[in-house]
Assembly symmetry: D2
Homo-oligomer: 345 residues x 4
Amino acid sequence: MATIRVAIAGATGSAGEELLRLLLKHPHVQLTYLAASAKWDRPTSVSEVYPRFARQVDLPVESLDPARLSHVCDVAFLALPHGVSMALVPDLLASGRRVIDLAGDFRLQTPEAYPRWYKFQHANPALLQSGQAVYGLTEFHQEQIRSARLVANPGCYATSILLGVLPLLKSQIIDDGRFIVDAKSGLSGAGRKADSSLLFTEMTENLRAYQVNDHQHMPEVAQEIQRVTGQSAMMTFVPQVLPVSRGLVSTIYVRTRASAEQIEAAYQTAYPLSQAPFVRVRGQSLPQLRDVVQTNYCDIGYVPTLAMESLVVMSALDNLAKGAAGQAVQNFNLMCGFPETTGLL
Amino acid sequence: MATIRVAIAGATGSAGEELLRLLLKHPHVQLTYLAASAKWDRPTSVSEVYPRFARQVDLPVESLDPARLSHVCDVAFLALPHGVSMALVPDLLASGRRVIDLAGDFRLQTPEAYPRWYKFQHANPALLQSGQAVYGLTEFHQEQIRSARLVANPGCYATSILLGVLPLLKSQIIDDGRFIVDAKSGLSGAGRKADSSLLFTEMTENLRAYQVNDHQHMPEVAQEIQRVTGQSAMMTFVPQVLPVSRGLVSTIYVRTRASAEQIEAAYQTAYPLSQAPFVRVRGQSLPQLRDVVQTNYCDIGYVPTLAMESLVVMSALDNLAKGAAGQAVQNFNLMCGFPETTGLL
Amino acid sequence: MATIRVAIAGATGSAGEELLRLLLKHPHVQLTYLAASAKWDRPTSVSEVYPRFARQVDLPVESLDPARLSHVCDVAFLALPHGVSMALVPDLLASGRRVIDLAGDFRLQTPEAYPRWYKFQHANPALLQSGQAVYGLTEFHQEQIRSARLVANPGCYATSILLGVLPLLKSQIIDDGRFIVDAKSGLSGAGRKADSSLLFTEMTENLRAYQVNDHQHMPEVAQEIQRVTGQSAMMTFVPQVLPVSRGLVSTIYVRTRASAEQIEAAYQTAYPLSQAPFVRVRGQSLPQLRDVVQTNYCDIGYVPTLAMESLVVMSALDNLAKGAAGQAVQNFNLMCGFPETTGLL
Amino acid sequence: MATIRVAIAGATGSAGEELLRLLLKHPHVQLTYLAASAKWDRPTSVSEVYPRFARQVDLPVESLDPARLSHVCDVAFLALPHGVSMALVPDLLASGRRVIDLAGDFRLQTPEAYPRWYKFQHANPALLQSGQAVYGLTEFHQEQIRSARLVANPGCYATSILLGVLPLLKSQIIDDGRFIVDAKSGLSGAGRKADSSLLFTEMTENLRAYQVNDHQHMPEVAQEIQRVTGQSAMMTFVPQVLPVSRGLVSTIYVRTRASAEQIEAAYQTAYPLSQAPFVRVRGQSLPQLRDVVQTNYCDIGYVPTLAMESLVVMSALDNLAKGAAGQAVQNFNLMCGFPETTGLL
């Protein structure tokens, strides 16, 4: 089968490192270019940056050169800080490259949402509104992703939440369209920036909520619910960081009178094994974080309590895998015609 | 001021160790007896069991002898596994001792609740129903605690939840009486038992929910809400363990149309500084776990989102301190006529 | 290439779980039997024991049946507690199976060493003394391992120490044959037994030394040094557990007048890239634990300080990978004629 | 007893925070000034910086004003980055203040050592050489500290090492004067600076050595050994950071033919209970890190192995307490005529 030439822009961030780890194992990938997002003095061997990769790859990490990026790859993975890729993508598309963007730059379809949620004006509102960017929540858009030239890879929280609630909304299990998400994430979700609130000494033996009802993954969740179900939903969202490195679990609360059988049917309909190899519906057994860490699975379990009209869903994934780099590779597989699970099991 | 002779039964468990730590610093306490709950071969010096206490106390830890317990102390702290203290308390009371029980044996007033929630038949239903046991949620029962001979010290989750929701319920801020608690606890809450699910290797980089809507702190929460507000409430409760040693936070979700001012007023009314030295109402600033660990404070913050009729409250405490041994000492201070904060700042 | 039928005895322990993880990815392995070391009530699906393996393997875990073990596999991996495999191996060999034993039962060649170091009498002294068991320190015994029917897989500490000191001893770099090892291990090295000293609450924010100069890996280190170099060496050994799950680093101290060039030469001679794909000599850059975790590499770095005639070597590996299951698979590859790195990169 | 007016310069660093915690509990201290080392926009309440101190202190944290510092206190604790206090101390002394400096600025007596070890030229070589600065290793300089006007508080590693080896050197137990220190420290030792190598995601499940035989605590160890024993010693030093917040253990290796009795005698002579309330000699029981964390104790245990002429000593303390702020308060107590343990038990 064909070998695809692949570049990673942002290879030194936490999602970039995970992409590197996954793509090195991919049987049909030839890595051709590793670019750092930060200012970079000189080409540096990967093993100098990440000694764990010694003997596994001998490409240098270089300062990002957009012109070069447009020439050396068939597919570019962009794992750059929010607001950087929007300026790079038009040239990449124009030169015939396909792009998987892990930042938020192409997730929202309304340019005016960017100043509110991402604190920047979007540089390419026309491209955004053209609908060319396919939202890469794999399980719900497989056909579109196969032919996409630009995939906006979903946020980690958004992936976890949407995989948990879309089946319920589609099956009319949430009467009033309201749900609450109490999400807990490992710290790799915050990337590798030197921020004193992310120090070991600040976070060991700690838990911290942040951006309550004010997190940039909220509009992509709302937009995707509208797109998939035609409904508008109302989400209360409390993201929290935990003293773990990887892993994310969204505990989702809804009010419902649905029975356990109806709930199970909703999930089984949404995720038949043949169509959703990476979503494991676990019935009334709730996933632990460690069940999914270092895998591309999203595990979903639920506990209905009929007497209280209460339903608790836990949707767990590895924020760097299914929540970022793993889902990006899953989308890459679809775009290139490989089996969806290639390199991910 | 008088010195009180104090015994700790269950001194080798995690709550017992914390009691020991606190009582050693208490200016009016003379420790007279340290008894282990487990079978114990021979008296062992505390510093052999816990080297950190070397030079600070030279009492031996001995096998629990109920007759001796009844003779050597004025006040007995019982930090034993659930179901042990119910057999010890009658003799202690009969011999004139005062008792602070950290287990669940005297928290519920209905004997028939015990088989359901604690898996044992209560040995002293008459005592239970007599109302002699005062529920030791300090901030709400100060007067009764002052004259109590038997205090049932609240559970750690229950303390955190009740301090968070009682002011809202009293002020009619939760219209429908429903609330959701997504609680996260450090592992010391599970005690020191050798259970493979509590191993470091199982819990590092993990998070696990357990006993969803089926935890033994639920009935004491319901009973206390009924007692304090006259209302019956409906709680969805998801307890979860975190990879931290100490600390517990309850994230509480309610639906309300109350304003931030009304919410603040509810808390300020419930916890005036002069009456509630250990509850810190922090307004719209949410507490981190580390703000309360190793202290006897319960910190409460909240975020109302009017557009969504949504209110998020976080109520954080140290499960071994305000959630167990610290609140027990707070109650002890009231029972003995000491200032409530003695030995706890 | 041929597919090898493989059984794992002890599949529910930490080394067994890692074997399962590695062998599932091995292109030439067909897993045929998963046996638990503990008493096991009924066959249980792997995913019930370890939900992370759901969808990846559908074999049941069963109670260990030695007769069945002898019939269903070509190669048996034994990851049982010390003292169990010595009774199983003779029948396995007699029935033509090849065996890789991860316990200590066949590491020492002198039966009388067992009561001293392992607290049991060896059940098969003749087999032990026959020399049939090949010590599976792959880099030093590749030829013998290729034709071995029984491989005694080295201990995790022993692997780390020997890979660090054998090149120095062979090159006469340690004048007096004395060396000190200050070793730090993750807690998975202690397995999955429910021991209160291994609880999260005991080990988080802790470090503990144990079995100083009294650890059962000491005699296999001495025996192997004698075998490979003809020298007797004198090791001071302080093993310590760290609050990490996986990973082991031996910090080795020797007195030497050798130069950095001589030291580098010693290591390069011992580990040419073509012969030692899993030993990465890193010169004067000391490895961090995270450089090797989740890999089969042993990373070695050193710092000589000539003015003090002092040499510090750090030898780091993942105790479950190169220190146990990974090295076992490396040996399996040699035994079966596969490239040494198959399934391990 | 008199109340002492105390200022903390550097109150927002990790040692400064610990000083604040300890001094708030000290019965004879009145805190008068809290100054931050960093540029500080406006006076900020302590509880805004550290919510855990809410209700316990209401002083603001202010930008450091040297003139003000010289007027508002009797004793100044300086917990500033290395190289800052050397410019402040002369004025403080001239205005009659007494100073306890937790940085390295006055630890070494030879100005020319500063460029080598601290990367700066010392601003006050005359003061340095005058011998006015008393090295605050409490147990060895109690008399001098009582009358000191300037105490150079020892480094955390230096305290741990010196308390472990000085008794051995004084008793001629280390024949050749050589010793090896394999030290492991919690990350609070690195302070609170936003450095990406100190992020939670970099350090969880990790261990890292740094500055091997090149750490700035080495010259103060050598100088103190010379001062106390008249000997010159040769130390191999490997400092390592662990994934813990607090605590430091030095594992010390020496070659000796001394017996256990001689070793015990050396320590008992050095640390009689009446003279060294914070050094706990534990005989052949090795301390765990958790035995000393959150205390001012240094715990020392040792394992001699006569057949190998090997002695292993472990010296454990809390790097923020006995290794920094706790020892500073211990010195403060001596300087002010309070019992050495005041506020520290």
